[in-house]
């Protein structure tokens, strides 16, 4: 190849690269700001308080799980390896691995607890996501953008609570009853509980909270000292999962 032709090609390639990279550089400098959450002027900090003693008074009650799964078209896979779950039952000993359950009140430790995304204040999953497909809203909800997720599963490696699921195959055939009011996801993206952000933005409570007949789930604003969640946390001691890791989870389990 002649020298001139080579030089032209190199210059053309470099120009194309710069033109393509402009958008990224602008975004890097301007720093995309997600997250106002449409919240009120006073800063809200959403949290959930779970009362395991009230829960499962009725054996095998899965009202919260069913409500969540239906509201969000969460698929049900037979293959446990491909399981997708946003809220589920976990044995007490596994949900609280750092507690010795042998001598704690058996009324508490023999029943499973309901676990889901803790919407941490210092979320490691958000820190590691390379595309900001998951981020923290100002009102505390750790969000998911299923349009942007590249399915690298780094967030799943980073979550200390196992709250996240991946769509190992097309979920649509595995949805029991499709809810037309909410999209499904596609294969190859990670999903998790989003504190029902679509309901929160309408001023409603998350589906699981509404579905629980025993009122075992309480949802509210931690920044409001008169809220139900604050009252509950003042009145009883609450555990958080793996509190020592510094993730600052905002789901509290009353003891």
């Amino acid at each position: 190849m002649g020298e001139d032709r080579r030089r032209f090609l190199k210059l053309a390639g470099l120009t194309a690269l710069c033109a393509a990279g402009k958008g990224s550089l602008v975004r890097l400098a301007g720093a995309e700001s997600p997250a106002t959450g449409g919240a009120a002027k006073k800063k809200i900090r959403w949290a959930m308080v779970v009362d395991p003693r009230k829960c499962l008074e009725k054996e095998a009650c899965t009202a919260c799980i069913d409500a969540c799964n239906h509201a969000h078209n969460v698929p049900a896979f037979d293959n446990p390896k491909h399981e997708v779950k946003w809220i589920w039952k976990e044995p007490f000993a596994d949900a609280f691995l750092d507690q010795d359950v042998r001598y704690i009140d058996q009324a508490l430790t023999t029943k499973p607890v309901f676990v889901f995304c803790n919407h941490c204040d210092n979320p490691p999953c958000v820190r590691v996501c390379p595309t900001k497909a998951t981020w923290k809203r100002e009102d505390g909800v750790v969000m998911m953008d299923w349009h942007r997720c590249i399915g690298c599963r780094y967030c799943m490696a980073a979550c200390p609570y196992g709250s996240r699921s991946f769509n190992w195959e097309d979920p649509r055939p595995h949805i029991k009853q499709v809810n037309p009011d909410f999209p499904t996801r596609t294969k190859g993206v990670v999903e998790k509980c989003t504190f029902c952000d679509e309901l929160l933005d309408k001023g409603q409570l998350p589906a699981c909270v509404t579905a629980c007949k025993e009122k075992a789930l309480t949802f509210g604003d931690l920044n409001d000292p008169d809220s139900e969640v604050r009252r509950l946390l003042r009145s009883r001691f609450a555990l958080r999962r793996k509190a020592g890791l510094g993730t600052n989870p905002e789901v509290f389990y009353l003891v």
Partner: protein
């Protein structure tokens, strides 16, 4: 030369391939301009028709980012009404006939937007 047969066969094959649009239309009839069927009685979409035709892709992308990443769900339409920004909920409430509306142009242009891999289209009335 021996290569003559190969050269002419190659030329013929190339011409057949390159002129495919011409003899395809002659055989099957020219493709008609797509006419997306509008079934709603509403006078206008959230933006004027000409603008929607040109820019509905950008509008939907902007809606997507505004709803998901900023949590703002209401949009001031061109006629002054506020609508919820939702493909399945708003757009397809007036345009539920995906096959005759959305797909008419998309198929003609060989474009396959992946929106409906996740967003549920209303059940088509057969």
């Amino acid at each position: 030369m021996r290569e003559r047969a190969w050269i002419f066969t190659g030329l013929a094959a190339f011409l057949a391939l390159a002129l495919a649009p011409v003899w395809q239309s002659a055989l099957h009839g020219a493709a008609r301009k797509p006419e997306p069927k509008i079934v709603t009685k509403a006078k206008q979409c959230v933006e004027p028709t000409a603008e929607m035709r040109r820019n509905h892709m950008e509008l939907l992308n902007a809606w997507r980012d505004t709803v998901v990443r900023r949590g703002q769900r209401t949009y001031l339409a061109a006629d002054g009404k506020t609508v919820t920004m939702s493909l399945s909920g708003t757009c397809m409430s007036c345009h539920p006939n995906k096959k005759e509306f959305c797909d008419a142009c998309h198929n003609y242009l060989a474009v396959s937007p992946y929106c409906w891999e996740c967003h549920i289209e209303p059940k088509e009335k057969s």
